[in-house]
C-alpha cells in the first residue's frame, strides 16, 4: 500500500509540476480537485434544473433530441451538464488519489475517506441514470448492461432485461424510476458531502473565484464549440454498429460488457471493498510522528487560541482540575490527525503532538541549526516544509541556505524564527506548500496570519521583520522558488550585519481569544506556569 501511495505521489507530482508551470501555482486546478468537484456539482444542479424543465418522460429520446437541436440554450446547457459530470468524476478521482498519496486517508479522516468513496460511486451512478434518460443508443446500451447486472441478483422476479426486448414498448414506469434515481442520487451526494466535510473545521468548499469561473467559463465555451454527441434514438429492432461512449463517467462499461454478470459484480465489489478498506490498510500506530497532540496543562493559560486554529476541531476548552481560574485546552485524540497546527498556535508552547510543541521545536533548533549559524553568521536559514519538493531544497542548499525542516509550516512556532533572527541569522525564509495543497489543511494560512496579521502566537514586534520572509515552494516552479530566494537574499544582503544577541529571552505571552474564553481569563497571562518548565525559553 505504501509503495502504491509513493507511486501515486510521483505521478501526481509530475502532473502538479506541469499544471503549476502552465497556470502558476496559485491557480493550479489540481490543488483544488475536491473543491472543483463541488463546483461541478453546483454546475450540474444548475444545468440539470433547466434540462428537467424541458425533458419529457413520455418521449425521452425525442425530447433530448429536441434539446440537443436547440442552438440557443438546449445544446450547450445539455453539453455543459455532460462535461461538468465528466469533470466531477475526474476531479473527485484526482482528489481521492491526492488524499491517498499524501496519507490523508486513515484515523480521524476515515469518515471523509469512506464518504468520499460513496460520493464517487454516487457520481458514477448518477451519470449512468443520466445517460439512460437520453434514451439514445448509448443510453439503451447502459440500460441493457444495468439490467443484465441486476438480473443475476435475486431481487426482481421478472428479468429487467425483458423491458428492452422489443416485445412491447419500454414502460414509462422505467423512465420514471430512472428519472427519480437521477434526482435522488444528487440529493444523496449533497448529504454525502455534508458528511464528508463534517469533521473538518472551516471546510473550503469552492475553489478560488478566479479558478472556479475560469473552469466554468472554459467548459461553457467548450460546450458551445463542441456540442456533445447524441446517438440515434434507441431501437430494440436494430443493433447499433457503435454507440458514443463516455470514457470518463462510464469507463467501466466496456470492461463490464466483456465479463459475465457474476464476474462484473465480483470485480466491482472487490474494488469497492478495497477502497473502503484503505483507511484500515494505511492506518499507523498513534505513536511517534502519528501521536495525537497533547496539552501541557501546566503551561496552558486557557487563551482559547488552539481550538480556533485546529483544522479538525479536535480541541475544546474544558474545566481545569486545579485551582487556576481559567479553562484548559483538551485534545480529543480520536479527532486529532497529528497535523501539528496547534503547536504553532500556542504562545506559551503548551500544546502539540509529541516532540513538536514550540518548546520541542526550540530545542531541536538549538542542537541542529544554531551551531550552523554560529559557524556561518551570514547564512540565510530556509525553514522548509517536509513536503516541499526535494529538488527545490537541494537548490536552496546549493545557494548556501541552511535548511531547517519542519513537518508543516503551520507547526512552526514564531519563537523559532525569533530565536533564529536574534541569534544572528542574516535572514529567515519560511517555505511552505501552496495553501490549497497543505497536508495540514491550514498551515500556510495560519502561518501568514501569525507573521503578518497579528494572529495569536504572532511573530513578536521585536523581531526585525526585514529579515523574515514567507515563500511558497510549488512543484514545477523551481524558477519561482529561486527568484524569491534570490530577491530575499539580495534584500538581506543590503541590511547591516545582524547582531547576535546573547541570552535571548523569548517571552511567550498569549491573549485570550473572544469566542469561548472564560470571563475570568487574565488579559495577559504571563507565561510563567511552573518553575520546572518556564515559558520563557532561554536560548542555549
Amino acid at each position: 500500500m505504501q509503495r502504491l501511495a509513493r507511486l501515486t505521489r510521483r505521478c501526481l507530482t509530475a502532473l502538479d509540476a506541469i499544471a503549476s508551470r502552465v497556470y502558476g501555482w496559485p491557480w493550479n486546478p489540481l490543488h483544488q480537485s475536491g473543491t472543483v468537484a463541488v463546483a461541478m456539482l453546483l454546475a450540474l444542479v444548475g444545468t440539470g434544473i433547466y434540462l428537467l424543465l424541458v425533458y419529457r418522460l413520455g418521449a425521452p429520446a425525442d425530447s433530448v433530441a429536441r434539446i440537443a437541436a436547440d442552438p440557443w440554450l438546449g445544446s450547450w446547457i445539455r453539453t455543459l451538464h455532460r462535461y461538468a459530470s465528466d469533470l466531477f468524476v475526474l476531479a473527485a478521482a484526482l482528489h481521492a488519489a491526492r488524499m491517498f498519496a499524501q496519507g490523508r486517508d486513515w484515523g480521524p479522516r476515515t469518515l471523509a475517506w469512506v464518504s468520499g468513496v460513496l460520493l464517487l460511486l454516487l457520481g458514477l451512478l448518477c451519470a449512468w441514470t443520466g445517460y439512460v434518460m437520453a434514451w439514445d443508443t448509448f443510453g439503451e446500451r447502459l440500460a441493457r448492461e444495468g439490467a443484465r447486472l441486476l438480473d443475476v441478483l435475486p431481487v426482481f422476479s421478472e428479468p429487467l432485461s425483458r423491458i428492452f426486448a422489443g416485445d412491447g414498448a419500454v414502460p414509462s414506469a422505467f423512465f420514471f424510476v430512472n428519472l427519480f434515481a437521477h434526482i435522488v442520487l444528487p440529493l444523496g451526494a449533497g448529504v454525502g458531502l455534508w458528511l464528508h466535510v463534517s469533521r473538518l473545521a472551516r471546510p473550503t468548499l469552492l475553489p478560488p473565484t478566479r479558478v472556479m469561473w475560469s473552469i466554468l467559463g472554459a467548459l461553457t465555451v467548450a460546450s458551445v464549440l463542441w456540442p456533445a454527441a447524441l446517438g440515434s434514438a434507441a431501437d430494440a429492432f436494430t443493433l447499433p454498429l457503435s454507440t458514443p461512449l463516455d470514457l470518463v463517467a462510464a469507463w467501466w462499461l466496456p470492461l463490464s460488457e466483456r465479463m459475465s454478470a457474476g464476474a462484473a459484480w465480483s470485480v466491482a465489489s472487490v474494488i469497492f471493498i478495497a477502497l473502503l478498506l484503505v483507511p484500515r490498510f494505511n492506518r499507523r500506530p498513534r505513536t511517534g510522528a502519528w501521536a495525537p497532540s497533547h496539552v501541557d496543562t501546566r503551561l496552558c493559560t486557557g487563551c482559547n487560541q488552539c481550538p480556533q486554529d485546529c483544522p479538525w476541531d479536535a480541541i475544546t476548552m474544558v474545566k481545569r482540575d486545579d485551582d487556576r481560574p481559567t479553562l484548559v485546552a483538551h485534545v480529543d485524540a480520536s479527532k486529532c490527525v497529528s497535523c501539528g497546527v496547534c503547536a504553532g498556535s500556542c504562545a506559551p508552547m503548551g500544546v502539540g503532538p509529541l516532540g513538536r510543541s514550540g518548546r520541542d521545536q526550540l530545542s531541536v533548533l538549538r542542537t541542529r541549526i544554531l551551531p550552523e549559524i554560529t559557524a556561518q553568521p551570514s547564512a540565510i536559514v530556509a525553514v522548509c516544509c517536509a513536503q516541499a519538493p526535494a529538488s527545490h531544497i537541494a537548490a536552496l542548499r546549493a545557494r548556501g541556505a541552511a535548511i531547517h525542516d519542519v513537518p508543516c509550516v503551520g507547526n512552526l512556532h514564531s519563537s523559532v524564527v525569533e530565536l533564529l533572527v536574534r541569534q544572528g541569522a542574516r535572514g529567515v525564509i519560511v517555505c511552505g506548500c501552496p495553501p490549497r495543497d497543505c497536508v495540514g489543511r491550514e498551515g500556510p494560512k495560519w502561518l501568514g496570519e501569525r507573521f503578518y496579521a497579528q494572529r495569536e502566537a504572532e511573530l513578536q514586534p521585536r523581531v526585525d521583520t526585514a529579515r523574515v520572509w514567507v515563500a511558497t515552494l510549488a512543484t514545477g516552479d523551481l524558477a519561482g522558488t529561486l527568484s524569491t530566494f534570490d530577491d530575499f537574499a539580495q534584500r538581506v544582503a543590503a541590511l547591516p550585519s545582524p547582531d547576535r544577541e546573547h541570552d535571548v529571552q523569548l517571552q511567550a505571552e498569549c491573549e485570550p481569544v473572544a469566542a469561548a474564553a472564560p470571563a475570568t481569563a487574565p488579559a495577559t497571562a504571563p507565561a510563567t506556569a511552573p518553575a520546572t518548565a518556564p515559558a520563557t525559553a532561554p536560548a542555549q
Binding site: 462535461y83 421478472e158 472554459a218 430494440a236 436494430t238 457503435s242 458514443p244 463516455d246
Partner: protein, 224 residues
C-alpha cells in the same frame, strides 16, 4: 507573493486548457463499437405460466366429512409446475436447445424467457418449439366436474362446479403444452426479429416492430 502571469504564460494557459477541454469533449463521446455490421439477431422474449402437472382425486363422502368445513374440496390435486423444452432452429439447424422452468424456489412462478440468437442477415427459415417435457396420462380428473353429492347442497351448492371452473381457469392461464412457430423471416443487416408468446392467441408470434421496419429499412446513421 503571488506570482503574476505574463501574456505569454496566459496564452500558454489558454492553449493547454483548450487542448485539455478538447480531450475531455472527445473522451465524453468516443465512438465505441457495439455490434458487427454483418450481424442480425433473433430474440425470443415472453413470459407465461407453466402448467401444473397434477394428480387429482375425487374425495369420497366420508373423506370429505372428515375434513374441517373450510377445507372440503371435492377434487384434491397434488403436483408440480411443468418444465419446457425450447428448441430453436435456423434454416433447419438446431441453434439452441434448453430447458425452461418457472421462476421461484418451487419453479411455480411464471417463466420468463429471454434468448438472443445470432443469425446471419438474409432470409431464414426459423422454427421455434416450446414443448412441455412432462408426459401426463390424462388430465381428465382435473377438468371433469366432480359428481354432485349431498355435501354440495346448502351453502356448498354448486361447489363441485366452481372447483372445476377454477381448475380449468388455471389450466387456461398456463402456456399450452406445445407451442411451435415455423416461419420465414428476412433479417436486415443489424436487424432484430422478436418472437413472443401472445397470451390472447395462445401462440408464438413474430413481434410487429421488426416486420414494420423491414418494409421501411432503418435510417440509422452509419456510426451510431
Amino acid at each position: 507573493m503571488t506570482p503574476r502571469q505574463s501574456p505569454v504564460q496566459l496564452a500558454r494557459a489558454v492553449v493547454v486548457s483548450a487542448v485539455a477541454l478538447a480531450l475531455l469533449a472527445y473522451a465524453s463521446a468516443v465512438p465505441w463499437s457495439y455490434h458487427s455490421g454483418h450481424a442480425a439477431r433473433l430474440r425470443l422474449s415472453w413470459s407465461a405460466r407453466p402448467e401444473r402437472i397434477e394428480t387429482c382425486r375425487t374425495l369420497s363422502e366420508a373423506e370429505l366429512a372428515a375434513r374441517p368445513a373450510h377445507m372440503r374440496q371435492r377434487v384434491e390435486c397434488e403436483g408440480h409446475a411443468a418444465t419446457y423444452l425450447l428448441r430453436v432452429s435456423v434454416d433447419s439447424q438446431l441453434v439452441n436447445e434448453s430447458v425452461v422452468h418457472g421462476a421461484g424456489l418451487r419453479n411455480d412462478r411464471p417463466m420468463y424467457l429471454l434468448r438472443d440468437v445470432d443469425v446471419a442477415p438474409g432470409t431464414r427459415r426459423i422454427r421455434v418449439s416450446f414443448t412441455r417435457r412432462e408426459q401426463t396420462d390424462d388430465d381428465a380428473a382435473a377438468f371433469a366436474p366432480a359428481a354432485a353429492s349431498d355435501a354440495d347442497t346448502g351453502m356448498y351448492a354448486g361447489r363441485a362446479q366452481r372447483e372445476a371452473t377454477e381448475r380449468a381457469r388455471r389450466a387456461g392461464a398456463a402456456v399450452p403444452a406445445q407451442l411451435v412457430i415455423d416461419t420465414t423471416l428476412t433479417f436486415a443487416d443489424r436487424g432484430v426479429h422478436v418472437i413472443t408468446f401472445d397470451p390472447e392467441r395462445r401462440s408464438l408470434q413474430v413481434s410487429r416492430g421488426a416486420l414494420e421496419r423491414s418494409t421501411s429499412p432503418p435510417t440509422v446513421p452509419h456510426d451510431y
